[in-house]
Symmetry: C2
Subunit: 502 residues, 2 copies
């Protein structure tokens, strides 16, 4: 059924993000003879490259006859430049959409069906609305453990997989998120690798939060390392703290995450598959998963946290990874800084054992490192905790962190934000709660994570007594627009609940 | 939290269908100071008009500094022309998305929540992927009867509502589709209105089929009438056969249908709300719903058909419309023509009592008219059938059809397709089945409904004995590309199952 037609490519200079668009004239012979209209899907072919794109119909003034404009991602995926000839024909039927429809109607999907969906998504055969449909009907608790295992394995199958020859045990850690701050990863990686264990950490950038570990690390050093460089760094230091995106570990997950973010959706099965597929692809054998639980965290009840922990452990076991889950206190941010640079300041303070170092961040990192030592050395948790504390307090973790930074390209000085503004309490009482989601949104409105120095620093914690006029937090931003948005949002929103002194 | 910024509009000449896009330079002061990036959502304001649009970032060569390109739908909804100044700011948070998330997690929605979702969708506050998410989690049997009632009423609330002063009883009919041909509406409307009953029929264009009633009627007369003209036609003839889209009866439904079509999704609750909201908005008091059932029809089992019939009746009753459902034979197309013009030929043949008139189409139309007479006159079905048959056989229906056509602007001659091609049987045996969906796709590949004369005409029906070389069907198309696609599809697909003569 292929019936190609040729058009000349024009770089039309439009960035449509991940969805390829082809711009065609309404009077173009292909549009007319094929019956293509606005929002039809077509197959573009250039040599052996194939891209499915959506048509936007344009006026005659925009394009010369016989030419087709391509959006940036369409140019990139096809590997074409202005003037190249491409063939345009009907988009082939995507058979795995039958499995999506099956799931819409509430039926369980087989390994094969899930594999076909993920393969087609990673080959860019799905439109954004088709991905949105798939994610929506898999969200909630609509995937059972078999389906989550299949999803995890399908995601691993369509990306690269790292191996660490000569290393039988590869450690890893992950926090499911939902708590601003909580930047334990650089601390845990430094402690664990200071003890000679291997922990090649690949992290993500922020999805819906004001900072991901990769964002924080990027304010300190180079995180955009290719696989060869990562292997050199790990060979030298037993560790790395890099951005996972550069090594293409789970490309299907990256496509799903973009739509999840737009829908503000974080499905359980999808979350587990996303986390574990990246751990497996990174070659990890043992991992600790931090599950913060609190009224405004991602997981709100102990029951939900236990269900998630059980699923993580089962899926991990089925995929050959030892998982230990920690259900932790998620009532308020961990550490005082929120945003890439402010979180980096907290990390440095803990490593350097500064008086100002946030105690909760130090403690959380020690707990996670202790669990990893307990798994790796087969020792009790209390002994693991002693080992972690020794490494941190002796300065060995700080030395090790500096070694890793040097291997990745050196430690950079942290930038300062252009605007700093401190908000004070308008009442006296006890700080009874902090809304994590709203606080995260405040930091994002201030410009985090796109602006590394943007974000905020908390001056009070839940349980503390506050007097009118006390500093509550300092906001950091680089532009007047962001500063104004963030402060307007703060004025209109209850983030801190301050109650009567009893 | 409003913080507007002004840009000059440029009509960029791109048709992005229903999703408004604003094209902005990456170095534009608004993008920079507000942190907008590709695929951010922004609020565009011009006088009192507000449109939420998605940003596509463009190169400097595409736009002058200080200007913003708008897609056609964005220009239209804002009511702007090139050179006008618009304000651009962050898109407001759409609160009803909380209800969508609630449904994603499997919870029942209240009337108020469904009302808020539909109101926001009809105000164009949802992105396509958000609509896709909502439709996907409402599909299958995921809406209960209360939710379907709420959805129906919410759809009615956001559109126009017609009234027919002085007419206590307003009749209507609807087929849920899934069967090619089956163009009973013009026949039923002619018979019922010939008897002096009021049946102001507004129809839709094809959604996923080769022709809707509006497409077929458009090949015969003018169907694009405004409300005032419709009322004149109905006052004169008790009936009309017009396109419903022109009177904006259920604008939310139109937005949902566009995404349903792209997802090839036809959820039960959505289907009922879509049909009944349009009936209620059209002022109907009594309606017959035709539910064809067959292995390749939309509804495949008797159980599903009965469930759908029961829901239609319950939702109708809750909304004050008397509904009678008919579960009909959906094993093969009704009539011989498929595509706007070919179906019109069948309709005319039945009205004119031609020898060539398809008997099954005549019979199906008589059954539906009989049910309407039975409801309206409170008589038995057999008496209703006698009445309908009398009206058709006496020529009164044909006279009445001509009156309606004249009132709408006159009967047009039917066009002929440029290419005609007859396919013959390659084997001898009994025609045991016709795949309705594939046959519909064949007619669509030939160019229907965009090309009115495109489609096909069946020469054999299920149960008939076929000899090698007998004509099976004739394909009609206007372009060489469409003809080739359709025939290539036919070669590769089993549409007709011909079995051994027993």
């Amino acid at each position: 059924m292929r019936y190609g037609n040729t058009l000349k490519v024009l770089d039309i200079g439009i960035d449509t993000h991940q969805e390829p668009i082809v711009y065609m004239r309404a009077d173009c012979n292909i549009c007319r003879s094929e019956g293509f209209t606005a929002n039809s899907r077509v197959l573009l072919i250039y040599n052996t490259n194939r891209v499915i794109a959506t048509i936007n119909v344009v006026d005659e003034k925009v394009l010369a006859p016989g030419s087709a404009g391509l959006s940036k991602i369409a140019m990139e995926r096809l590997g074409v430049a202005t003037g190249d000839s491409i063939s345009v024909s009907y988009a082939p039927v995507v058979n795995s959409l039958g499995a999506v429809r099956k799931k819409i109607f509430g039926h369980k999907l087989s390994d094969k069906e899930i594999g076909a969906v993920i393969k087609d998504i990673s080959a860019h055969r799905y439109t954004d609305i088709e991905i949105a449909s798939f994610l929506s009907v898999c969200a909630g608790s609509r995937l059972d453990v078999d389906e989550i295992i299949a999803l995890t394995q399908a995601m691993v199958a369509c990306g690269k997989r790292l191996t660490w020859p000569g290393t039988a045990m590869v450690l890893d850690k992950h926090c499911i998120g939902g708590l601003p701050g909580n930047r334990t990863t650089p601390l845990v990686v430094s402690m664990v690798s200071a003890a000679g264990l291997t922990i090649p950490k690949t992290s993500s950038r922020a999805i819906t939060s004001p900072a991901g570990t990769a964002d924080t690390m990027e304010s300190l050093t180079n995180v955009n390392l290719d696989l060869a460089r990562i292997q050199e760094v790990v060979a030298e230091t037993h560790a790395c703290l890099v951005w996972g995106g550069a090594v293409n570990l789970s490309p299907a997950d990256d496509l799903l995450i973009r739509i999840e973010r737009a829908l503000d959706l974080d499905g359980e099965g999808q979350l587990i598959a996303s986390v574990l597929s990246k751990k497996i692809a990174a070659g990890s054998t043992h991992a600790v998963i931090d599950i913060p639980k609190g009224p405004t965290a991602k997981v709100r009840t102990h029951k939900d946290a236990e269900r998630l922990a059980s699923l993580f452990t089962q899926v991990g076991a089925a995929c050959g990874v030892h998982i230990r889950c920690l259900i932790t206190d998620g009532i308020q941010p961990v550490g005082e800084g929120i945003g890439p640079v402010e979180e980096a300041r907290d990390v440095l303070a803990v490593l350097q054992r500064a008086d100002t170092a946030p105690k909760d961040l130090r403690e959380r990192a020690l707990i996670i490192a202790a669990q990893l030592f307990s798994m790796a050395d087969d020792i009790s948790y209390p002994r693991g905790l002693i080992k972690a504390t020794d490494i941190l307090d002796s300065g060995k973790a700080w030395t090790q962190f500096q070694r890793i930074m040097k291997a990745q390209g050196g430690l950079k000085p942290l930038p300062e934000a252009y605007y700093q503004h401190t908000e004070t309490a308008r009442t006296t009482g006890v700080l009874q709660g902090i809304d994590n989601r709203r606080l995260a949104r405040l930091a994002k409105l201030a410009g985090a994570p796109a602006t590394a120095a943007a974000g905020l620093r908390l001056h009070k914690r839940v349980g503390e007594t506050i007097h009118e006029g006390d500093a509550l937090f300092t906001l950091y931003s680089d532009t007047e627009g962001e500063r104004q948005y963030a402060l307007a949002y703060y004025q209109q929103t209850d983030i801190f609940s301050i109650g009567e002194t009893s």
